[in-house]
């Protein structure tokens, strides 16, 4: 019995000791987009190795989850930085402000390409147009002046140049920031290119409803939402020779053994074509800093400065090596961090 009593006393002591400890968190806490996670973890590791600050903790979970946690409030129990693969929404800024997070610094890390890849031994998916994707996976299409449910079942139905293979796509789920870029740069673009947008408007929809219709994805199992990571998309593609998936450029470059990439709008994805803006499907990546935590949690500002230093985020740095397209306006971002310029001051 004595042993047990001592054990529980120890446990209670440990719990109460931690109460005192909780007042001084010494590492930076980050959460958010799984697309930004590899970049953030590379920087976090290097930050720990090259400075005297402890290595930050980087959690994943998606842009929306990260920003929701970021907006929970100010204090030790909340995260300092949120990673996002899309800009913060006005509604999120509002939620933040309601919870006392009214000073947010927005940092653009660089650009990331979104690529369309399929099994290496699968059908010859080598060149896509945005309109192909729209006609393949939109919920409704205009056919002969009437709006009907999407009748296409093979890629050849959509475009005679594509292989006669069943349509099966794996696209990012709605909680991923990638989904928004996919909808706007591929589906909406394809909708306009194919003339479907006009047809929608002619059928009596207003502009917003037509856009909505352009970006509505069919739900008959032809297009599958992937809520997990790219590894899940990869696993689905490996078990479905006809599957085509949406990946980040860096993920594809890490898996050239099992994936082949298709051009979009005639341009092959690479860091060069994305940097020049030729490749149509790319998006900026961001992280958001809680200004109230600068000077309270050690290393928040230093982490941001280290992240955006020329040696790290610039051309030839470890982030570019991994697949990030460096931001040409890096110097502006650096001074923005230096001056702690918040979004409302911009």
């Amino acid at each position: 019995m004595n042993v047990k009593l001592t054990a529980s006393a120890l446990a209670i002591a440990a719990v109460s000791a931690s109460g005192a400890y909780a007042q001084d968190r010494d590492n930076v806490q980050i959460a958010g987009s799984s697309t930004v996670l590899p970049y953030a973890s590379i920087v976090a590791e290097l930050f720990g190795e090259n400075t005297d600050f402890p290595t930050p903790v980087v959690e994943s979970g998606g842009s929306s989850t990260g920003l929701a946690r970021f907006c929970e409030g100010v204090g030790e129990g909340t995260i300092d930085i949120a990673n996002a693969s899309r800009p913060i929404r006005d509604s999120e800024v509002e939620t933040c402000a309601n919870n006392g997070v009214d000073e947010i610094i927005e940092v653009r890390i660089g650009y990331d390409g979104i690529v369309f890849a399929s099994q290496i031994d699968g059908p010859e998916f080598t060149a896509f147009e945005p309109s192909d994707w729209f006609q393949a996976i939109a919920a409704e299409l205009p056919v002969d002046g009437e709006i009907v449910e999407n009748p296409n079942t093979t890629w050849a139905d959509v475009n005679g140049d594509l292989p006669d293979a069943e349509i099966l796509t794996f696209i990012p789920g709605t909680r991923h920031g990638t989904r928004e870029v996919f909808e706007e740069n591929v589906l909406l673009q394809g909708c306009e290119d194919s003339g479907a947008m006009e047809a929608f408007v002619e059928s009596g929809m207003d502009e917003d409803a037509a856009e909505e219709a352009c970006m509505t994805v069919r739900t008959d199992g032809v297009s599958v939402d992937i809520d997990g990571d790219y590894t899940e998309t990869l696993a689905r593609i490996q078990s479905n020779p006809n599957g085509v998936g949406v990946f980040g450029l860096a993920f594809y470059e890490n898996n050239t053994d099992s994936l082949k990439v298709a051009t979009m709008g005639g341009v092959a994805p690479s860091t060069e074509t994305i940097a020049s803006g030729e490749y149509p499907v790319s998006r900026p990546l961001f992280f958001y800093i809680k200004k109230a935590h600068i000077g309270v949690i050690p290393g928040v500002k230093e982490y941001a400065q280290f992240f955006m230093a020329d040696e790290i985020a610039g051309p030839g740095g470890p982030l570019a090596n991994y697949g990030l397209v460096p931001d040409p306006e890096l110097a502006d971002t650096q001074s923005l961090i230096e001056n702690e310029t918040t979004m409302s001051e911009m």
């Binding site: 590379i42 290097l46 190795e49 402890p54 994943s60 129990g77 099992s258």
Partner: protein, 441 residues
């Protein structure tokens, strides 16, 4: 007699057929066949179960064993005092060390070797060099031989994880680099060895994936299990002894009982939400700390321990209690001197089952910040072990499984092997303890 006869057509003993014990009649044969069939079903069920087990073990071992070897490159390097000072003066210090290494190796390999090619082969070992030289400043200016892991892709090439064809479209390692790597292998510069770093190492980013190891998360899991054991065993056993031996049977204890049974079936993520709301946001405990993980898992394990402990206490024959009370023991003496020791094996089994369940749990850890890029150093002591950010084995495996670089796939399976060994050790301890406590009556 008549009511024992099932067949209404048979009237009395005269109508009975004469049978012999020596010749087997139709009915007996039928029954024998049914028994044989039943046995074969049983054997088939076991065979199916075993074949699944073999498949599982085979797939784990075949995917995970490569994680226990690594490809290393042996390099002799001399860093001068000036080079050291220049490197330490930069923002990106580890990069400077890496450049020194690449330059030295490229020069050693020959004039026409492209340093960038060498860099792609050896990856990013700059941090290891920096750690060495900052700890051993007396070695500056001396020639030191390093054995450093190669880049994940070079490692993958020599392990057959990646192919030459696949690399033709890759920017990370070109087929020409592979020619150079083959040459280095022939010259004995590149060799293969047992990967201790996988067992002792900590988490690593995609910039240096070869360095990733499970060690820190084993420590994290260990601290969590210690918290779970220290809290849930005494609380669980005390609760069950009271409920089983002392508590009055009334509506109130009934409600408690129903609640405990229900809690045992609550999905583990719910405990994670509770942990986030109570331990982190209300009590102010640090995020990502094994202490919080242990507390959350304690909540999850308690119902399991209480239920199994109560079952063990109930299994002790009432005669033992009656005898103890009969010779004049108090209620408490009868419980602690006689009932509890006899129930010990059952309690231990329940505890180990609860711990094993807690050890493999990822979902609640997701909410308290233990899943992600955590744990880049070992804790310095017990307090740090409980409070410093750390991961746990299943969380680490989960994180690796979603990484882009294929080496993490291998590491995730290797991590599963380590997790299974940890579980096996726990079970063996339980069996040994149970044997020692086991008593027959």
């Amino acid at each position: 007699m008549t009511d024992a006869t099932n067949n209404p057509g048979a009237s009395g003993p005269t109508a009975r057929k004469h049978t012999s014990l020596l010749t087997i009649d139709v009915n007996t044969r039928k029954r024998n066949r049914a028994e044989a069939r039943f046995r074969s079903y049983g054997i088939a069920a076991i065979a199916i179960g075993l074949s699944f087990l073999v498949m599982l073990v085979w797939s784990i071992l075949s995917s995970g064993l490569p994680a226990f070897t690594r490809t290393v490159v042996e390099i002799e390097l001399t860093v001068t005092q000036e080079e050291y000072a220049a490197a330490e003066d930069q923002l990106f210090k580890t990069r400077a060390y890496q450049d020194l290494l690449v330059g030295s190796l490229a020069a050693e390999l020959g004039e026409d070797v492209d340093p960038e090619s060498v860099e792609r082969i050896i990856g990013s070992p700059g941090a290891m060099l920096r750690n060495y030289y900052t700890a051993n400043e007396d070695q500056l200016g001396e020639a030191v031989t390093f054995k450093l892991p190669t880049s994940s892709r070079t490692d993958g090439y020599f392990k057959g994880r990646i192919t030459r064809e696949g690399q033709e479209r890759s920017t990370f390692l070109t087929p020409e680099d592979l020619d150079l790597a083959d040459e280095m292998k022939e010259n004995g510069i590149i060799t293969s060895e047992f990967n201790w770093q996988f067992l002792t190492g900590t988490e690593a980013s995609d910039d240096n994936p070869v360095a990733a190891g499970i060690g820190a998360s084993v420590v994290g899991s260990f601290y969590m299990m210690a918290v779970v054991l220290i809290l849930s065993l005494p609380i669980g056993v005390a609760a069950s002894i009271y409920l089983e031996e002392f508590a009055p049977k009334n509506r109130f204890t009934d409600i408690i009982e129903v609640n405990i049974s229900n809690l045992a079936a609550v999905p583990s993520i719910v405990f994670g939400i509770l942990g986030l709301a109570f331990f982190i946001q209300f009590a102010g405990l640090p995020r990502s700390a094994p202490l919080v993980g242990g507390l959350v898992l304690t909540l999850m394990t308690l119902p399991t321990i209480i239920i199994s402990t109560r079952a063990a206490l109930r299994a002790v024959p009432p005669s033992i209690r009656a005898a103890a009370l009969g010779v004049g023991a108090s209620k408490m003496q009868s419980v602690f001197h006689h009932v509890l020791p006899l129930a010990m094996p059952g309690i231990l089994t329940g505890t180990i089952i609860g711990l094993a369940q807690a050890l493999g749990e990822t979902a609640p850890l997701l909410l308290i910040g233990m899943v992600g890029f955590v744990a880049l150093k070992y804790p310095d002591g017990v307090a740090e072990g409980l409070l410093d950010s750390n991961s746990a084995m299943p969380a680490q495996i989960y994180t690796w499984a979603s990484r882009a670089d294929q080496i993490f796939y291998e590491k995730a399976w290797g991590g599963i092997i380590v997790l299974l060994v940890f579980l096996l050790t726990m079970n063996i301890v339980a069996i040994v303890l149970r044997r020692r406590f086991e008593r027959r009556w």
